[in-house]
């Protein structure tokens, strides 16, 4: 049974709950979320963006740190905010970033 059907005791949950359930039960990527929920990639992407806006998901950058922890001028940071563990993808980075998504408890 897919995450979508099972997330509310067999009753079909909506895409947002299905995506959250997929994350909570160990999905590691959006592709895996699509496979578990049966949702289109477009819907999963929109759901993740919406959950981020709602504060139900948390997205942070993941980079290796600097040798002395002085991140104020780091290329992967934004303004005076550090690149390591900064919230969301930085606007300044041109390359891909690793975004970790963790489910926040309501």
């Amino acid at each position: 049974m897919s995450e979508r059907a099972s997330s509310r005791g067999g009753q079909s949950a909506g895409p947002l709950r299905s995506v959250l359930t997929a994350f909570e039960s160990g999905a590691r990527s959006r592709t895996e979320v699509c496979a578990r929920t049966g949702l289109r990639r477009d819907v999963v992407d929109a759901a993740v963006e919406h959950l981020l806006r709602m504060g139900r998901l948390d997205a942070r950058e993941l980079t290796v740190g600097c040798p002395d922890g002085g991140c104020g001028s780091c290329a992967s940071g934004v303004g005076d905010r550090p690149g390591c563990g900064a919230a969301g993808p930085s606007a300044r980075r041109s390359g891909p970033v690793l975004v970790s998504l963790s489910v926040r408890r309501p």
């Binding site: 949950a13 909506g14 895409p15 947002l16 709950r17 994350f23 909570e24 039960s25 160990g26 999905a27 590691r28 990527s29 959006r30 592709t31 895996e32 979320v33 949702l39 289109r40 990639r41 477009d42 819907v43 992407d45 929109a46 759901a47 963006e49 919406h50 806006r53 709602m54 139900r56 948390d58 997205a59 942070r60 993941l62 980079t63 290796v64 740190g65 600097c66 040798p67 002395d68 922890g69 001028s73 780091c74 290329a75 992967s76 550090p82 390591c84 563990g85 980075r93 041109s94 390359g95 891909p96 970033v97 690793l98 975004v99 970790s100 998504l101 963790s102 489910v103 926040r104 309501p106």
Partner: protein, 660 residues
């Protein structure tokens, strides 16, 4: 004919005059007000410009900082009559849930709670290539009886991606008219004008019925119902060609595979360290020779010239700063190469995959998933990694992760690994360094498990997903920029705290304990040596109870780079007549281990490396721990690191001695 306000429609909630103090340039008073809304980048402003031509103004909406475009749009209805509307270009909004001033403005406008009334009709500009993202707003707007038209843009982009949208089916599912158009090519404008004219004449469609009950105060349930409706709409109106696996998909099948993925990661990291040590070795030798040769000779000549030859000042500058800091600077090429290779891996997208396979291993042994981010940061520097534990919502996770971070091998420790590996294992230096990083992961896992089974038996798992970006060709700009930032930070450390540490060590080495004068004492008779000898007894069971070695480790509490500088200045001071070339330093270190290990040199060196890896990284890390988890836990952390480091080092030496 001017578009008349329909007489059959429900009373207008917002007269055009309500918008009269909005940016000038709109249509004549009395004409219907139509608002363009939609998610950012859906083509809304392009459509607005295309419809209004030169007849538009852009300015802040009165009383707000929200920028709104306004213009007169004169189209034709189905009978060919002119149809004028007052067109508003509202700021981009994904939804009516106010997450920004722009979205608040749009929400207020459509709920009628703002100073201006709601427009007569909304044209929702929807990107056909990202329809799910665009239709959430439609779902919200359809919850009230309101005139809506959906303008479908980017159909060509969607087509290229194998997405076909059936506009008629979409209109039927949404319950509002849908017009496919391309504002860049100015196609579809006439149809849109006709459909808008029709919609303005017709009564507003009834609000859509909610599919599922959800209390209004349960924001997730309400939003979920909307997404469910959007999903249902897409199921009936959108056809998608099965996506062909991309290059990223094909590569990821191998790179993130449960068994092959970790093996490949190990191979890649081994390659990084092997390349780093191999390529950097000749550069490092050349720099070392430069520092110990011409630079030291020039300095000695200068002191001769000043008549300060043999003075304490010469000792501080040449045996302290030049030998110590100079030795550290010979590692700049090595650090630059490693940082550049890591930046390449990061920028290409591979680091994300490496994170995925490592995370999987950590979860397998029960470590909290979201502790992974600070731990990865820790491989660069432990200080920001400790700060990064703030992202963990659970206090126990925060403390546990902050206690584990010091076991991640930061780049400062790399310099010592390289020197020791090049001294004792010259043909396998890269492999030894790689082994230290593996050992670091084992420490994190082992200590993490031990903490979970003793202090935090009930720590739960936090879900976490790693969002994998597509692979891309690394950019020179970003790679160079990241490399420079990290090298600069290394240089800053060398120029700041290391200079201070070197000066302090020189001072301690200048103080005699068995007679003699300040600054003219052999290192072995100095206060530094005497204090180091006391501590060195503790390390006899680990095979490296030599005062030079232990003194360097004690100095390493300040910063790990100081282990190197301490060695360099101690051995340089022992023979102040000449500079200390890199091979001479290695010979001194080798002799010290040979003497202290009783012949089991390899076991002693491995024990030393393990101790170096596991004991307290630096004072800055302890300060960061104190700040983040309090003084008691920080003290516990230091005790934990020293206990683990000493115990494992002794075990490595004793077992190694039996085997050799």
């Amino acid at each position: 004919m001017t578009l008349a306000r329909p007489s059959t429609a429900a009373p207008r909630r917002g007269a055009p005059s309500c918008h009269g103090d909005a940016p000038a340039g709109g249509a004549r008073p009395g004409v219907p007000v139509v608002a363009l809304v939609g998610a950012p980048n859906a083509g809304k402003s392009t459509l607005f410009n295309s419809l209004t031509g030169g007849s538009r103004t852009v300015g802040n909406w009165p009383g707000t900082t929200v920028e709104v475009g306004r213009g007169s749009w004169v189209g034709t209805d189905r009978c060919g009559h002119p149809a004028e509307v007052d067109l508003l270009d509202l700021p981009g909004a994904y939804s009516l849930d106010p997450a920004s001033p722009d979205e608040q403005f749009t929400a207020d406008l459509f709920t009628g709670s703002g100073p201006a009334g709601a427009p007569d009709l909304a044209v929702v500009v929807a990107d056909a290539a990202h329809l799910a993202r665009s239709l959430y707003l439609v779902a919200q707007l359809r919850e009230r009886s309101r005139r809506l038209v959906v303008a479908l843009t980017m159909s060509d982009v969607a087509e290229r991606r194998g997405i076909t949208v059936d506009a008629d089916a979409l209109a039927a599912a949404l319950g509002v008219p849908v017009v496919e158009l391309d504002p860049r090519r100015r196609s579809g404008r006439e149809r849109l004008a006709a459909v808008v004219a029709d919609a303005l004449r017709a009564p507003a469609p009834p609000a859509r019925a909610r599919q599922r009950d959800g209390a209004d105060d349960d924001a997730l349930a309400v939003a979920d119902e909307r997404f469910d409706w959007v999903d249902g709409v897409l199921m009936t109106a959108l056809a998608e060609r099965p996506a062909r696996p991309t290059v990223t998909d094909r590569v990821d099948r191998w790179v993130t595979a449960p068994v092959l993925g970790p093996l490949l990661f190990l191979l890649v990291m081994w390659g990084v360290f092997e390349a780093t040590t191999t390529v950097a070795a000749p550069l490092q030798d050349a720099l070392g020779t430069l520092v110990s040769g011409p630079v030291t000779a020039a300095g000695r000549g200068l002191f001769d010239l000043l008549g300060l030859s043999g003075s304490w000042a010469e000792g501080l500058v040449l045996d302290g700063l030049v030998a110590g800091v100079g030795m550290l600077l010979t590692f700049v090429p090595l650090m630059a190469i490693m940082f550049a290779l890591l930046a390449l891996l990061e920028d290409s997208g591979y680091l994300a995959r490496a994170a995925l396979v490592t995370d999987r291993a950590m979860r397998a042994v029960g470590l909290p998933g979201n502790a992974f981010l600070p731990l990865v940061v820790g491989f660069g520097c432990n200080v920001p990694a400790i700060s990064a534990t703030r992202i963990l919502p659970d206090a126990r996770h925060r403390i546990m992760t902050a206690l584990l971070v010091p076991f991640t091998s930061c780049s400062a420790r790399l310099t010592v690994y390289v020197l020791v590996a090049a001294t004792f294992f010259p043909s396998a230096a890269g492999t030894v360094v790689f082994g230290m990083y593996l050992t670091s992961i084992l420490f994190v896992v082992g200590v993490g498990l031990a903490l979970r089974r003793t202090l935090w038996r009930t720590v739960g798992q936090e879900p976490l997903v790693l969002d994998l970006p597509a692979y891309q060709r690394p950019t020179l700009r970003l790679t160079a920029s990241l490399t420079w930032v990290r090298v600069r930070a290394f240089l800053r450390t060398a120029g700041g705290i290391i200079v201070a540490t070197v000066s302090l060590v020189w001072l301690l080495q200048a103080v005699p304990v068995h007679g003699g004068s300040f600054g003219a004492v052999p290192p072995e008779d100095s206060l530094f040596a005497a204090a180091s000898r006391v501590v060195a007894h503790l390390f006899v069971p680990a095979g490296f109870g030599d005062w030079h070695t232990v003194g360097a480790l004690v100095v390493g509490f300040v910063a790990k780079e100081a282990v190197l500088t301490s060695w360099a200045q101690t051995y340089a001071a022992a023979d102040p007549t000449a500079g200390l070339a890199p091979d001479q330093l290695q010979a001194h270190v080798h002799a010290a281990f040979a003497a202290s290990s009783g012949g089991a040199v390899t076991a002693a060196v491995l024990a030393f490396l393990v101790f170096l890896l596991a004991y307290t990284p630096c004072v800055a890390t302890v300060a960061a721990q104190r700040r983040e988890i309090g003084v008691r836990w920080a003290a516990f952390g230091v005790g934990l690191q020293l206990t683990v480091a000493w115990t494992v080092a002794v075990a490595v030496f004793q077992v190694g001695r039996l085997l050799t």
